[in-house]
């Protein structure tokens, strides 16, 4: 069996430790070691975005990230966003605007959208489309996803959100 290594990191605001195989992906660690299944496997090659997480405030494909490289870093998953009141408006917009169908791409999409809103608060529809170009969705045709994200941006601009 492959070598294991102990790491320590912050996951959704809580410090924790884990012992992981050194060739393991952060995605496998989250799902199989930590037991958080909101982050999805879609391709394992960084081509679909279903496994998107935030690492030190930046969105990454967790399937491309070595679990050992999480050491000392601050990780937020969809479970973290689900428990974060600041992300309520975004998740609510996905529901209200019909941005969810089978829902398999949705957690990664929501995480990427939160990153997009944090880094590009002025993003228009075209910029939003570019921002989620690494997230594949087979059901919705993306239109309602873009509308959902844009609605949160618009609400932010109007000061409708604290």
């Amino acid at each position: 069996m492959s070598l294991k290594h102990d790491i320590e990191f912050t996951l959704n605001g809580v410090r924790r430790q884990a012992s992981v195989r050194v060739d393991m992906s952060a995605l496998d660690m989250l799902r199989d070691v930590v037991g958080l299944t909101g982050t999805k496997y879609g391709c394992g090659e960084g081509e679909c975005g279903a496994c998107t997480i935030l690492v030190d405030g930046k969105s990454l494909n967790s399937c491309l990230l070595f679990a050992v490289d999480c050491n000392g870093r601050n990780i937020v998953t969809i479970e973290g966003l689900a428990a974060d009141a600041k992300a309520d408006a975004l998740r609510a917009a996905f529901v209200e605007y019909g941005a969810v169908q089978c829902g398999y791409c949705t957690p990664g999409m929501v995480v990427q959208a939160s990153h997009l809103l944090a880094t590009h608060p002025q993003a228009d529809a075209d910029a939003i489309k570019r921002g989620i170009e690494g997230n594949l969705c087979r059901c919705t045709g993306y239109k309602k996803i873009v509308e959902a994200i844009a609605s949160v941006n618009a609400a932010d601009k109007q000061g409708a959100r604290p």
């Binding site: 909101g38 999805k40 090659e45 479970e79 998740r91 169908q101 957690p107 919705t140 993306y142």
Partner: protein, 803 residues
């Protein structure tokens, strides 16, 4: 406060129909809480993995599993030799889950392992030694028909070998004297006479390519036997009740002992209508290991071993008169079945409807031959052959119009079907908004003006050419009677708190069925959506349904839910009528209350009435059941009959920019007009149309599963290109509400419709832009560039004999 209570309260009428209702399961999905098959683990569960063939066509000389069996953590290693009386699966029963003496395609399952971790299972696969003896490879369907061609399923199956089926067995398949898997021959009228009377005749050959579903959630299942030997399957199937019976047959079990539980499904699109080897193998592994076994694909495996949309070679001959009247169509198609027969082979059922009945065609001949090759096998996929058929038909609608100098839209309007017509194939159009779809899509896109303008600019010096194209489609919208029943059952229960549980046979696969069914029930019972709980994923609980396919769920399950709700309403109102000593007809349900129908005055809230009823002398609960069977009929042996209780129509206008220096086609706008009967959930139906349109865009422009000599060359999202967000066109949707008389609240099915005519309209748009017609898909930059430079693929026409 007593005074206030006595004050009459009036509830204004309201409706849920046509509103934007968020999906009931969306909050869970947006929080990452929804559990898909991938997220479920059972105590004691093992992990299954499949060893697939490394050869395209070969005899299996030997399989050595000793080293794999000896690996610590391995609980079971199975090959065909370990399965007593393995039975073939699939539409033609030509497919053993574990291959016996031969592999016929690169995806073929040779052995399987159950181990304590996925890693150990993968290690064990590497330790299995298989000796092959290569056979000649057959990957060209035209070659497959030639005399002397390598036979994929030669008869009789090897005497005494495992492939030799016992005469007493349940299965008829004993191999084939040739490579023909299925034939379909249909005709109405006299095409020879009609051609002689035509002023213009055109003939072209079209080549439709391999694409695959790419559900974002990869395939997987868990098989678990209880201590009495009952099988519980956690499955992604779209047809749980059909599968319960079929699995029983393949496993030699009593169907009563199989229970199917469906976790949330990460996309269906028709991919989960057949039983696949991995599912049977997972059960075999659970049997062998006596532990629950979970088997989930990798994305690469998903690409390699999933079914594809049916690739088709198609020659169409069409004619019309100078006045624009269509005279005849003759269609010959060659379907590449791949190595085994799944639903792809049967797409002619749908294809011939488009040829015979989308437009009024007085004379029509249709012939399909589906042949075996060593390619991946074709299954069912949203649209079911209709994308392919519509691609050819709509190309000819443009060509014929041009040949007689008639406007493309006028030509279509002249031949379009209308309400009340019965087609040569026996389809009856009780509601039909086809002409309205055509007019609406054309007007909203300014089709005529743009079409003419683009023609003028074809020869301008700008390398970017603009094009606009129109295409339309006909598809079943009221179920499809292809099984002994096309029905769906509903159980409805109202509890003491006015909460309703809707137990339906219809599966949710992301399309929003549980929301629209709840909406229909709430509308009938005057309740808010929050009053509904849906149970729809366990064959031990839910009543029978034929499955999620043929765009049938809103129509069939909707009518079923409505039937149960109406019975419940009658019971509630009867109880209220007794209580308030008035005729039930004076009462209605609204806003969670029993009201006076005339005034809207609230008499009692539903929870209290339910408790009154329950805790009374006659102690009664409101529980109803309903089974809906649509008033459709089977096709006869000549494929004639009214198979659906309603038909959906749509016209779409696609606008493109063609970069003639690179071949890049950019889809800028799609204007879609869909006859959906009636809009129930506006949010949901828009989502279906938008998603379908973009899936159609992928079929037209970017998606192609590249198969070379039986090998899938691009089993990844890097080179199998799904449309990404920046590529989507502007989408304008208009719903034509024809209020179908049989549909629930007037609605018809719409699931498949939006994907069907995008590629056809795109082809017409490229022609409008450039004057070059391209007969093969997808319109990748290189294919378009080659066509623009006279280097397009030359396709050999199929004759009736060849097909």
């Amino acid at each position: 406060m007593n005074g206030a209570e006595k004050k009459a309260r009036f509830i204004a009428p309201d409706t849920l129909i046509g509103k934007r209702i968020p999906k009931m399961d969306a909050p869970e999905k947006a929080s990452g809480k929804t559990r898909y098959i991938h997220d479920i683990d059972l105590p004691g569960q093992l992990y299954g993995k499949i060893l697939r063939s490394t050869r395209v066509h070969a005899l299996i000389k030997s399989i050595d599993t000793a080293a794999a069996r000896a690996l610590p953590g391995v609980h079971a290693v199975i090959t065909a030799a370990d399965i007593v009386n393995q039975r073939p699966i699939g539409v033609a029963k030509d497919h053993f889950p574990l291959k016996t003496d031969k592999v016929r395609s690169l995806r073929d399952e040779v052995a399987a392992v159950a181990a304590e971790s996925e890693q150990i299972a993968l290690e064990a696969l590497k330790l299995i030694r298989v000796e092959y003896e290569d056979l000649p490879i057959l990957t060209d369907p035209a070659e497959a028909l030639k005399p002397g061609a390598t036979l994929i399923h030669p008869e009789p199956r090897q005497p005494g070998g495992q492939d030799a089926l016992k005469p007493s067995g349940p299965v008829a398949f004993t191999g084939k004297p040739d490579n023909v898997a299925m034939r379909f021959d249909y005709c109405h009228g006299d095409v020879v006479q009609a051609e002689a009377e035509s002023d213009v005749v055109v003939e072209d050959t079209f080549k439709l390519h391999y694409v695959t579903h790419c559900c974002m959630g990869v395939s997987g299942m868990i098989a678990d036997f209880d201590s009495s030997g009952n099988l519980i399957m956690y499955s992604n199937t779209q047809v749980p009740f059909l599968h319960k019976r079929e699995f029983a047959e393949y496993l030699n079990m009593d169907p009563a002992r199989i229970r199917i539980i469906q976790p949330a499904i990460g996309g269906g699109f028709g991919s989960k209508l057949d039983i696949y080897p991995f599912e049977v193998i997972c059960v075999f592994l659970a049997q062998a290991a006596k532990r629950p076994v979970k088997l989930v694909f990798t994305r690469e495996e998903e690409f390699i071993s999933s079914p594809t949309r049916q690739p088709v070679l198609l020659t169409l001959r069409s004619g019309c008169k100078k006045d624009g009247t269509l005279t005849f169509r003759v269609v010959n198609t060659l379907h590449d079945n791949g190595a085994y027969t799944s639903w792809g082979a049967t797409t002619p059922f749908v294809m011939m409807q488009t040829f015979s009945s989308l437009y009024r065609v007085p004379h029509c001949d249709y012939h399909t031959t589906a042949v075996y090759t060593n390619n991946p096998y074709a299954g069912s996929f949203r649209g079911y052959g209709n994308l392919q058929a519509t691609f050819a038909v709509e190309a000819h609608m443009d060509k014929l119009a041009e040949a007689i100098g008639m406007d493309a839209l006028d030509f279509r309007l002249k031949n379009a079907q209308a309400q009340g017509e019965v087609t040569g194939q026996g389809m009856e159009f009780d509601s039909c908004g086809f002409k309205e779809c055509l007019d609406t899509a054309a007007e909203r896109s300014d089709f005529r003006r743009k079409f003419a303008e683009n023609l003028k600019n074809r020869n301008s010096s700008d390398p970017i050419k603009h094009g606009v194209g129109i295409a339309s489609m006909l598809h079943v919208g009221g179920g499809a009677k292809i099984y002994p029943s096309d029905g769906c059952g509903t159980i409805l229960k109202l509890d003491d708190f006015g909460q309703v549980t809707l137990i339906t046979g219809a599966s949710e696969i992301g399309q929003g069925s549980e929301t629209v069914l709840s909406q229909l029930v709430c509308e009938e019972l005057g309740l808010p959506m929050s009053a509904l709980t849906v149970v729809n994923n366990d064959t031990a609980i839910t009543p029978w349904d034929v499955g999620v396919h043929a765009s049938r769920t809103t129509f069939i399950a909707g009518n079923s839910a409505l039937g149960a709700a109406r019975l419940a309403k009658a019971k509630v109102l009867a109880a209220a009528a007794r209580k308030f000593e008035c005729p039930a007809s004076d009462l209605d349900l609204r806003g969670g209350h029993v009201i006076k129908a005339a005034s809207g005055e609230a008499l009692i809230d539903l929870p209290r009435l339910m408790r009154n009823l329950h805790f009374s002398d006659k102690a009664e609960l409101v529980m109803t059941t309903f089974y809906y069977e649509p008033p459709s009929s089977y096709q006869d042996k000549r494929y004639k009959g009214n198979v659906s209780a309603a038909y959906a129509w749509a016209s779409q206008v696609v606008e493109v920019e063609v970069d003639t220096e690179t071949g890049i086609v950019k889809m800028t706008r799609i204007t879609a007009a869909h006859d959906v009967g009636r809009v129930l959930n506006r949010l949901g139906i828009e989502g279906q149309i938008e998603g379908g349109v973009v899936m159609g865009q992928g079929y037209a422009l970017t998606e192609s599963l590249i198969i070379e000599n039986g090998v899938t060359r691009n089993p990844n999202f890097r080179d199998y290109k799904l449309v990404t967000a920046p590529e989507i066109p502007e989408i304008d949707i208009t719903f034509i509400e024809t209020m179908d008389g049989e549909g629930p609240q007037g609605a018809k099915g719409v699931g498949e419709a939006p994907a069907i005519c995008v590629a056809a309209a795109t082809a017409n748009a490229i022609y409008n832009a450039t004057g070059v017609r391209i007969y093969g898909l997808p319109f990748t930059p290189e294919r378009v560039y080659r066509a623009l430079h006279g280097k397009g693929e030359k396709l050999v026409p199929l004759t009736a004999k060849a097909a």
